[in-house]
Symmetry: C2
Subunit: 276 residues, 2 copies
């Protein structure tokens, strides 16, 4: 069996190819559809709400959904002397975004590039974007251990990453994939900042009864087993799904909802993990 | 932009490299996590319940979840003169399964093979499995337009496929990915048998109130737009999620549930699409 391994460059030996970016956090998942991009998006909004200057780099070349989730579909990327200019959500440029979605002409068009082409694109995304000063850069990655995933991780060897947040849904099938991802991170010497369990429990808006539609506690059990932090559980919230659809800032609009509180708490947990 | 296109071999010119298999159906999705493997699994159970001899070929090399969903974790694949023997769920061998999951020694192990290695494996899966007589073979494919997806589709050029079932969840982000997949199928001249909308609506077990957690109707609208059949909507059912966890036959155990009825109806819709 050909298990591809590599070392992440660490400490001072690593080249910081993203100047002006203070902290870099990867959002990973062992499988698709667990809400990785939703977590990356709302986490970025939470950082912005906390007064930080935030960047979001969408490296999920399989299905770039970040532009839609941030309400930026149809926006174009401009070139300046310092490189590509990210698309900003606001005039004061507190939240900047770069995604392959901005480079596709047609929403119906499939991104069916082969490895080498993708490789070149990822390299450009890591070196040619003029982020300006960012307190934190959240990188959304392709799911699983697909070829795209490996390509992204290999390219990230040159970047001093602070760590990875692993997203799972509660059920064992998804947790199994994340378990493999934990093994992958450990072999790659990539620091795991913690695990997020998404889609835990649904509270009926009519009777307030809670149903664990997709089971419960898989992420927490995995965190214990793998001896990494459990950052929190995000409940199923139709408003969150709707916000992702409409490109709305959920953590701000529904700031007192349990899901928004979960994102803020996860953000604090990440900060604590980074500084330890 | 390098858009990779290829022609599926059609009609008599195609080589039937899966002898003994009468009908071949692909299950595709534009993104991961929409329940593609769940649909493939329960559809196979529905065919079995209808008295057919069924094969399930799991080509989702990113995260092979079929063994778990069919309750076959830990089973081994044996070699015979005619090739690899599938793992059968029952003594009368009405449901046979082949998956890369059977070939992994350790559940924690990530399948991080590069393209060429995967390519060889897929070729073997298509040529070296002794399926014996199968009325229908359901092929679960890697999600999206990932490199794995392209590799699988290229290898399937040599197989006379009856058509593809596209799975989506209701929300627009997922539907967008499936829209790209429709474009992909049309360019590849792969017949689309229809679209399945998974995770539509959740009926609270306490008060019976229905919430469209992940929106509603995206799959139906896409089917109309793309001028393909809409095969049906599968509601969210915790018993279905649990069955997938435990490797249980949901369509049999909960045979009168709306979700099980949806799978049977989808099966009939596929049969009708194939014969037209």
């Amino acid at each position: 069996m050909c298990l591809l391994l590599f070392q992440m460059d660490e400490g001072d030996s690593s080249v910081h190819i993203l100047p002006g970016v203070k902290r870099i956090i990867l959002v990973l998942s062992g499988k698709g559809g667990v809400g990785k991009s939703t977590v990356a998006t709302q986490l970025s909004f939470a950082y912005q709400q906390a007064g930080l200057r935030v960047g979001v780099l969408d490296l999920d070349l399989c299905g770039p959904s970040i532009p839609k989730m941030l309400g930026l579909v149809g926006k174009g990327v401009h070139q300046c002397d310092a490189g590509w200019l990210p698309v900003f959500t606001d005039e004061s440029q507190t939240l900047g975004v770069m995604s392959i979605g901005f480079l596709l002409n047609n929403d119906n068009e499939a991104v069916v590039w082969r490895g080498p082409k993708k490789n070149a694109m990822i390299k450009q995304f890591l070196t040619d974007v003029s982020w300006k000063d960012r307190d934190v850069l959240v990188i959304d990655t392709p799911p699983g251990t697909s070829d795209e995933h490996i390509t992204v991780m290999e390219n990230l060897r040159q970047v001093k990453v602070d760590g990875a947040v692993l997203v799972t849904t509660p059920q064992a099938v998804a947790v199994g994939d994340v378990r493999r991802e934990v093994t992958f991170c450990k072999k790659a010497k990539l620091k795991i900042l913690g695990i997020v369990e998404n889609m835990r429990g649904f509270v009926c808006p009519n009777c307030k009864d809670c149903t664990n539609i997709f089971s419960k506690g898989g992420g927490e059990a995995l965190a214990q087993h793998a001896n990494v932090s459990f950052l929190g559980a995000v409940p199923i919230d139709p408003n969150l799904a709707m916000a992702a659809e409409k490109g709305e800032n959920f953590v701000q609009t529904f700031t007192s909802s349990p899901a928004a509180e979960a994102f803020h708490s996860i953000m604090r947990g990440i900060d604590s993990s980074v500084s330890h």
